[in-house]
């Protein structure tokens, strides 16, 4: 079982894990994900790969507590083992070299920009990371990203750090030539609503945009079809055909509705977990 090398609490609900996973670290590419399971009877959940260190055989992931399973993951500490980690799954992000690549990270989605920005910067692309959060203390990994990008643009809703406003507002300014200038490619990773807003921002000006979809998945290997996303009017499996798709082709309405299919059950699972915790505490 893969052992956790170190953890870091990034925000009260977001935690970074460095995991011993030499095989995955050796073959991972930006944009891919892993499937995780933390207990017998537990769910398999997809988590985007934040970073990898081939030499150290380490994989970095960032997990945000949203449901019972992610809560269980976030309770783990360095030295603990994770029951199952499988990957890397999905296709990696491919962008023609030589342009200006702008990675837009919303919330814990910023984590996935680590390996992405490093890879594109290393091959000589101009790179900009736009990081968004509600306020300064919810902003993650800005310091880690600075050495990996040509520019880092920070946006907070309340203006407590960087640009006051949404990532899409800053992105629109850039497209108009402000700051680091118009990007040739945009990659948006974060909450569905943010990715959709980015898609709408870049659609008019015609900036090529990829979004990293995170639909519900069971196996993550192409078997269940639960992760199907409507792309250009066709059903695509995020796990094998994605997870990154052309933002201007994705039907976000359907994707957002499908992601809410099990909200009731997820709430129940959280309640059950809370009960179990109380029982254990006694």
């Amino acid at each position: 079982m893969p052992r956790i090398i170190e953890t870091r609490q990034l925000t009260p609900v977001t935690k970074l894990f460095r995991i011993e996973a030499p095989l995955i670290a050796a073959s991972a590419r930006p944009g891919q994900f892993v499937m995780l399971r933390v207990r017998e009877g537990g769910e398999r959940i997809p988590i985007t790969i934040a970073d990898y260190d081939r030499e150290a055989g380490a994989l970095t992931i960032v997990v945000q507590e949203v449901g019972a399973t992610t809560k269980r993951v976030c309770a783990l500490e360095a030295g603990d083992e994770i029951l199952d980690v499988a990957g890397p799954l999905g296709g990696h992000i491919e962008i023609a070299p030589g342009g200006h690549v702008c990675g837009v990270g919303g919330g814990f989605g910023s984590a996935a920009l680590l390996c992405l920005m490093r890879a594109f910067t290393a091959r000589g692309d101009k790179t900009t990371a736009i990081l968004g959060a509600r306020s300064k203390d919810l902003l993650i990994l800005a310091d880690e990203l600075r050495p990996l990008c040509t520019n880092v643009e920070v946006c907070t809703d309340d203006g407590s750090a960087g640009f006051k406003g949404f990532v899409t507002q800053r992105l629109a300014q850039m497209i108009d030539g402000d700051g680091p200038g118009r990007p040739d490619h945009v990659v948006a990773i974060g909450p569905m609503a943010m990715m959709r807003a980015v898609a709408e921002t870049t659609r008019g000006p015609g900036v090529k945009t990829l979004v990293s979809m995170d639909p519900l998945m069971v196996d993550g290997t192409g078997m269940c079809g639960g992760c199907r996303v409507n792309v250009g009017g066709k059903a695509k499996f995020a796990c094998v055909d994605g997870p990154c798709f052309d933002a201007h082709e994705v039907d976000f309405d359907v994707a957002m509705r499908r992601n809410k299919a099990y909200v009731k059950e997820e709430k129940k699972a959280l309640d059950r977990l809370a009960c179990m915790e109380i029982r254990e505490a006694r």
């Binding site: 069971v218 079809g225 059950e265």
Partner: protein
């Protein structure tokens, strides 16, 4: 001379009213006397046609004779020598279209219940201490990709020949379709675990959570890991969809998703985390074994009404007769000659019904089955909360997309020699659904076995590496 009874000894089953609401096995298995009676029905033909009907050529009259004489150890040994998964095949094989189809008894009577006897012998074997040991005598390591029926059998056969074998499985538990697809009430997981335990005792190593084609490439297995040969048994796990309007509504899923949530992820267990939502009425589209599994599972998950929707008639359905009968007994409804046109939205993005059209049968089509023709003006709506699609699966492209030189046909199936399983890549063999497209457990097992022999021949004829 004992009297040959005209009728098959009936398999004892649990009461439909009880069993349709739990996941315990439906068939209870023969008693000693039932097995004895049934074994006596075998004519022990000089030229046993049943053996030719079996994809792995089990010595049927011989093992049945051993049952009749009470020599269970001999029966078990004979059975296992030909079929490495007897307890599984005795439960899930479509015997009526294989060994039992041509049984000489069928000229006038029911065929001998070969499948039920196979199960009886295999179940007896499970009550005995396992009679296997690890004897690794060969240097050359062999990798098997996928721990489904073909991979398990191939690995077992190779281990028997003395090869060190490692099976790489993408999911967190081995078994393939035997674990994620076939439900507990038809194939208890304890039986699968027992069979896998035997393989491990024979020295087979199983590594889960490794996706060949992703975690490691096929070439890595040779170059970095030092394997001398590879067997691909990655199955046909990619579900097909109809492409009808409303297919992306919440409450529509593939049978693979539905069954995986329940079987592999234990969705029936209130302590498990993977959610499954089963509405009051469930429509399952298709009429194969997977469709029967899904529709009967719906009942067990609490559906009040579970129905099959199929565009052809019962004559064309591909499910085993036994599953069909069990489904009828359990109260499953059947809408034959009914073609789904559209899934209806309840207004909030969930399913409220399935719009269908009645069909009639015409001339045979390319598959040899009567072509269904729509009847104009016959559209109607079935009120349902779930639609489960069991209309077939295609091979998983994960491995082939990342492997150069591995040829596939138009359907995405691996191109492999029918006898040896050799693919377009040297020392890479393949078998099972990855080659044939979705088929049966026993065909996959047979292919795994043949490939194991071909691998042995290829490696044994090559100059020793050490």
């Amino acid at each position: 001379m004992p009297v040959k009874r005209a009728e098959k000894t009936t398999m004892p089953v649990r009461e439909p009213v009880t069993r349709a609401h739990d996941f315990m096995e439906v068939n209870e298995g023969y008693t000693v006397s039932q097995a004895g009676f049934e074994a006596e029905r075998c004519l022990r033909c000089q030229d046993p046609v049943c053996v030719g009907g079996c994809p792995v050529n089990v010595p049927i009259p011989e093992f049945i004779h051993a049952v009749a004489t009470g020599d269970m150890a001999a029966a078990a040994k004979m059975l296992r020598s030909a079929n490495p998964l007897p307890a599984i095949c005795g439960r899930v094989c479509p015997q009526e279209s294989q060994c039992e189809a041509d049984c000489s008894m069928t000229l006038r009577f029911d065929p001998v219940a070969i499948g039920h006897l196979e199960r009886y012998v295999a179940d007896w074997e499970r009550t005995q201490p396992p009679n296997v040991e690890a004897k690794i005598t060969r240097q050359e390591k062999v990798a098997v990709i996928g721990a489904g029926p073909s991979g398990l059998v191939c690995a077992g056969e190779l281990a028997r020949q003395g090869y060190p074998v490692t099976i790489y499985e993408a999911l967190h538990a081995p078994g393939g379709v035997l674990r994620y697809g076939i439900p507990e009430f038809r194939l208890p997981k304890a039986i699968l675990d027992w069979e896998i335990g035997l393989l491990k005792a024979m020295g087979v190593e199983i590594v889960c959570n490794v996706i060949i084609g992703k975690t490691l490439t096929l070439d890595d297995l040779f170059n970095r890991m030092g394997y001398a040969a590879v067997f691909i048994g990655t199955g046909a796990g990619l579900p097909q969809f109809l492409g009808i309007p409303g297919e992306n509504l919440n409450g529509v899923m593939s049978a693979n998703e539905f069954l995986t949530r329940i079987n592999l992820m234990r969705g029936y267990d209130p302590e498990a985390d993977t959610p499954v939502r089963v509405g009051r009425r469930v429509a399952v589209i298709g009429a194969g074994n997977t469709a029967m599994d899904a529709v009967r599972t719906s009942l067990r998950m609490g559906a009040e009404e579970a129905m099959i929707v199929y565009r052809r008639s019962d004559k064309e359905m591909s499910a085993r007769v036994e599953e069909y009968h069990h489904a009828i007994e359990e109260g499953v409804k059947f809408h034959w000659l009914t073609n789904p046109l559209e899934v209806i939205d309840d207004g909030s993005g969930w399913v409220s019904g399935l719009k269908c059209q009645k069909m009639k049968l015409g001339e045979p089509d390319a598959s040899g089955r009567a072509r269904p023709i729509p009847i104009e003006g016959s559209e109607f709506v079935l009120p349902v909360e779930n639609v489960v699609l069991a209309i077939g699966t295609t091979p998983n492209p994960l491995l082939t997309r990342t492997t150069a030189g591995l040829n596939t046909n138009k359907k995405g199936c691996l191109v492999a020699d029918e006898q040896t399983g050799l693919t377009s890549k040297s020392l890479v063999f393949a078998g099972g659904d990855a080659v044939t497209g979705a088929a049966t457990v026993i065909l996959a097992a047979g292919a795994g076995k043949r490939a194991a022999h071909a691998i042995h021949e290829a490696l044994a004829s090559a100059p020793a590496s050490s």
